[in-house]
Symmetry: C2
Subunit: 217 residues, 2 copies
């Protein structure tokens, strides 16, 4: 019986659901979405770029409607190579759009990048960046994430995980866009040269988690 | 700079947002809701009752739509006295309707109980229960939570906290119905006699959390 006289001794051992994971498509739960689950204010406005040593962080503003709830866009950063894998297939890069809602829940939209056509929409993010670690500079760009993602006509994987950098905050909602966007070799190399040591966290055990695969109807 | 060669040494220190809390109404963020934020399948079906020593757990089935997302109803249990307080005002009892969605997020709807008129809707839950700890018995009842809560014409407090019993799982969405339901003294005494030692967790620090107050338009 639970001892209410010794509450300070209560156990706090809980499952450790971390990210990234390898998404095993045979084990995903497929759900047909009748309406768009993710919609984005067409005017994500970027204001700062921060050199984080082994990453770049693009701070910005915008609104996303995720399963009917409003989230504020906070920042974009990236990983070389991609952190999530699908059936152990890797991509050269993964973009993380980090959002938070009014009570503090975090939702990250992950977008894979592969080599291919030049990306006009993303070109602002493949430019020069502050040379010194921790340096912050004004950075002005806009990104129409809604049309960019819609144009992929992609499904989305959804599961509960964590941030992939310390403090590895748990209970982060992940929304991993199935199909990659393309950038040119010149675009990718600009950042890859600088971050060639890689900044992808190791794959974490899925530990009985449900991974949903939302597909468009 | 983050060391990707020593990922096992990364810090996991995060804010400890626990429940219950004292809701300070002057610090809540008021939002007018144009549509109902919580709707419940009118047929929550209860199937088992479990004697948990210092609580009773009523297992059941049902669906809730919470901010547009589908949650499965799992179980109902209670606390003497109420765990949440509003401006330090306490109620004699609090019911917890525990829900979980397909990716594992937990949402608890908390309903305060105060002394007053006999409750026909809740009467099934103020009856005999298994005498022995850990004993489970079939328990058949239905509860129209949607009409019960609608009839209160109440606002709802919303914040991010934890379960109030071990393992104190964090990132639980709390939906605390502002106005209490009433039960008769005879109804309350039936359970209170047995649980007179109390089973309320101590109030936890709010720690800069945002508490939303949704009001009906």
């Amino acid at each position: 019986m639970l001892n209410y006289e010794q509450q300070e001794k209560w156990s706090k051992i809980v499952p450790n659901w971390q990210s990234p994971i390898n998404i095993e498509t045979v084990h995903t739960i497929e759900i047909s979405a009748k309406e768009k689950i993710l919609t984005f204010d067409n005017k994500y406005q970027f204001i700062n770029i921060v050199n984080k040593g082994n990453n770049l962080q693009y701070d910005g503003k915008g609104k996303a409607i995720i399963e009917g709830r409003t989230f504020d866009f906070k920042q974009l950063h990236f990983h070389f190579p991609a952190e999530h894998t699908i059936d152990e297939k890797s991509h050269p890069m993964e973009l993380h759009f980090v959002h938070q809602n009014i009570i503090g829940q975090i939702a990250v939209v992950a977008l894979f990048v592969e080599l291919g056509e030049f990306s006009e929409e993303l070109n602002s993010f493949f430019q020069d960046f502050p040379a010194i670690e921790s340096e912050k500079e004004p950075f002005s760009a806009t990104l129409g994430l809604d049309s960019l993602i819609s144009s992929l006509k992609s499904g989305v994987y959804h599961y509960l995980g964590s941030l992939t950098t310390p403090p590895l905050v748990k209970n982060v909602e992940w929304w991993v866009i199935e199909k990659p966007i393309t950038v040119s070799a010149q675009q990718l190399d600009k950042l890859k040269q600088r971050f060639n040591h890689g900044n992808a966290r190791e794959i974490q055990p899925t530990n009985e988690r449900s991974v949903i695969h939302y597909v468009l109807v």
